[in-house]
Symmetry: C2
Subunit: 264 residues, 2 copies
């Protein structure tokens, strides 16, 4: 089983990347589940065509007694045979933002989900890798960081790399690589990935159809049935199935990152 955690700063394109990757695995006949771990709870929107009920909504409906929750209350069928889950998040300002992500990971374990799927993808907010937001690191074998050629997304990637280094000591996943999204090349992401001992898995260009996917609720494979636009995802799914090198990254000291990348 491939257990993948996708991290990156908010708005960088994690959900878009994850959904199209899940779809690519589904099209390759692999039984796949995608778990959205962002309070924004729209990770699986293009796979289901709507905003599915979140774990936090279901938990609130039964006064947070996880024993009372059935599997089909939180796992929904999506396109290409991909099953979908959305953790959601407690309202901002109340409790720990990552709490529900941690609970979701535990619930899936309780349902024995790990043995039912060939691919599992966690799509996680990476601005703070603390509390429940770091739980998916513990339950995955490989991590993909989505960034672009700008300071903020690489700074967030460096913090995620730090968290990977810490969590892998207790069995957490290691780094498969970085994805440069909405980019024509990897001019900043590439040197950074190499510097931390990793590499760029793929570069995904800016694409207008993808930009509107939150409105059209389509994956790249529906937007372009020829599979051309979906190329980067189909190719990456094949490579991940074949196995890519996994490393424990060596993050760059933050102050050095500033002097190297300073301004966009």
């Amino acid at each position: 089983m491939l257990k993948i955690a996708v991290y990156g700063k908010g708005g960088i394109g994690k959900s878009t990347f994850s959904s199209n990757l899940s779809a690519a695995f589904g099209r390759a006949g692999k039984k796949t589940i995608q778990v959205g771990c962002d309070p924004k709870h729209d990770s699986t929107f293009t796979l289901t065509g709507n905003l599915i009920p979140t774990v936090v909504e279901v938990l609130s409906g039964c006064k947070f007694k996880t024993d009372e929750i059935e599997r089909d209350e939180i796992i929904f069928k999506g396109k290409f045979g991909v099953d979908c889950v959305e953790a959601g998040g407690p309202p901002a300002g109340a409790g720990c933002g990552g709490y529900v992500v941690g609970e979701t990971v535990k619930l899936l374990e309780k349902f024995g989900v790990y043995k039912d799927y060939e691919v599992m993808i966690f799509d996680v907010l990476g601005d703070v890798v603390c509390g429940g937001f770091s739980a998916p690191l513990q339950h995955s074998e490989q991590v993909i960081i989505v960034a672009t050629n700008d300071f903020d997304s690489i700074f967030a990637a460096n913090r995620i790399a730090t968290a990977i280094g810490i969590k892998q000591k207790t069995g957490g996943g290691t780094l498969a690589g970085l994805v440069a999204n909405r980019a024509s090349n990897a001019e900043l992401v590439g040197p950074y990935a190499a510097r931390i001992g990793s590499s760029v898995l793929t570069v995904i260009p800016e694409n207008d159809g993808v930009r509107k996917s939150r409105l059209t609720a389509q994956t790249v494979f529906e937007q372009d049935p020829t599979g051309f636009i979906g190329g980067p995802w189909t190719n990456l799914a094949q490579r991940l199935l074949a196995g890519v090198p996994l490393v424990v990254p060596t993050p760059i000291p933050e102050r050095e990152l500033f002097s190297q990348l300073g301004a966009d």
Copy 2:
């Protein structure tokens, strides 16, 4: 004393906005302190010209015994008479990301900082408004949310508005308004602000000098000594000193936000 908390999603321009606002208050002769509350610890970079030592660095140096810390170990002099503090953040993956922000707010209270300044600005990461990241809400009277005309920053603004509603019940600050940054108008921010019972304080255009300020370490008032580019900040500082209406916002149900703002 004006106690202002500036919130917004990561990378939206909170620090740029805060530093120029602090500079505008300083130029108006008001004794001002700016407190960076983002693990990125670059909030006051254009005010000091460098990355000042963070509270977390100072705390780690004395095994987190806050009693041993002196005021001048964490408060540094910046331009225009603005004093600067950076909370910093624990390494990602270790403990609560917001912990240090909470500790910083407590330390400043211990030093009696609240009575020494006429203006205090907290610059806070707004992706998750939980743990210590919500502490500045408790210690401020008014909140300014920085957004732009896109879905992600408005979704984050809505979560921040939710947190304001919760924290104001125990004495937390209320909403002064939203700022549309890197925008030529407030076409999405405006209707959203009105919808939650607030308004747009100012629209700040995209500006190349501002974009490079992380490299040049300059506020707008050094880039343009005529004060023209700094106009929005000078004007807003005056209005905040005169007093703007403060409201308890009524956030929009999240699913409604999706149907209204769906795609960029």
